[in-house]
Symmetry: C6
Subunit: 76 residues, 6 copies
């Protein structure tokens, strides 16, 4: 992937940080499976599986830890 998609972990608000965590989670998938058509095809598999959605939420939580620390938890 030659495009620039991540230049900073700093966000204005925790919610933007959460959304960045989602972006990172998805990027982790895309680096492993870059074919967008395959990803689209797989979407029903996890978007309709409680287990897969929980696993996706876990990855987001892991990235959110990193991003929250990077922003000093948006404490002030």
């Amino acid at each position: 992937m030659a495009d620039i998609w991540l230049t900073t972990l700093v966000t204005a608000t925790p919610q933007e940080g959460f959304e960045l965590a989602i972006t990172l989670s998805r990027r982790g998938v895309k680096y492993t499976q870059p074919d967008a058509s395959v990803l689209k095809q797989l979407r029903p598999d996890y978007a309709n599986s409680a287990e897969a959605l929980t696993a996706a939420s876990h990855v987001i939580a892991t990235h959110f830890q990193t991003i929250a620390a990077a922003n000093d938890y948006w404490r002030k």
Copy 2:
């Protein structure tokens, strides 16, 4: 999602922090599957599965780490 749902990680008590961790866990799911009717349909799948409930509890634990750190563990 255009609504504002997360403006701070600071909470008055650890219990409120725990409840915020639950909110974050659920939001992680909702961002991946925004269709509330699908989520409702999936609910019996995980609410009646020991494995799925444990996995959900794990995501909550991960978010609670972040929130506890953000609150300096509510030490005083």
Copy 3:
């Protein structure tokens, strides 16, 4: 849940901290499935499954990280 069940992460000993980690793990499950009768029914599923017990132990380990940090690892 209107009851107050978590007012501090500080414990006198690491063992009490470990037991609090267990409480948090179970609370994570209860918030997702508040029906005690369902939980009771699920109990044999995970209490007799090596995989489920290991997963439960993992959640406890995650909460114990948080609680140990909150107590500065009971260093003195």
Copy 4:
């Protein structure tokens, strides 16, 4: 469990810390399933499953993070 089994996270060496991490992992299982005869019966299930052994190793790794931090990584 009325017995006292955890009074400190401080260990003399990293290896002792690793072994304490194993103890914590097993305790997490025992608190959930206190019946030793059931645990003994489940042992072949995970001791002969690559997946279960890896999951057990993951829990140990999580506890080892906590214990290593508690010992300031045995740096001196």
Copy 5:
């Protein structure tokens, strides 16, 4: 593996850090299964499985935590 492939965790940008996290994730696999032909054969298994892709993304997230901390979150 006699080759030198990891000399620093410091990267110029968060994106390079993310890409290093992917490298570490893959190396973790390669150390366990060094046979490139087997890995190639397994590729369709996980590149076409929503669950496997999410698990891979989780490993990347874990390594990214480490690398982000190593770079002080690229804060300045």
Copy 6:
């Protein structure tokens, strides 16, 4: 296990730290299943399973977090 196999978490380079993380991951398995012949027998199970290899890589990543922190991320 009476042998001494872990005396320090300090390594000269990140790569050596990564290799130590692999050692710790394997030790976590060996403590649970000390029988080398069983482990040898299980090897094909996980060395040829994409899911198991990813899980093994996750454990390595968790230990690498600990070791990287112990080495202050080999920053200088």
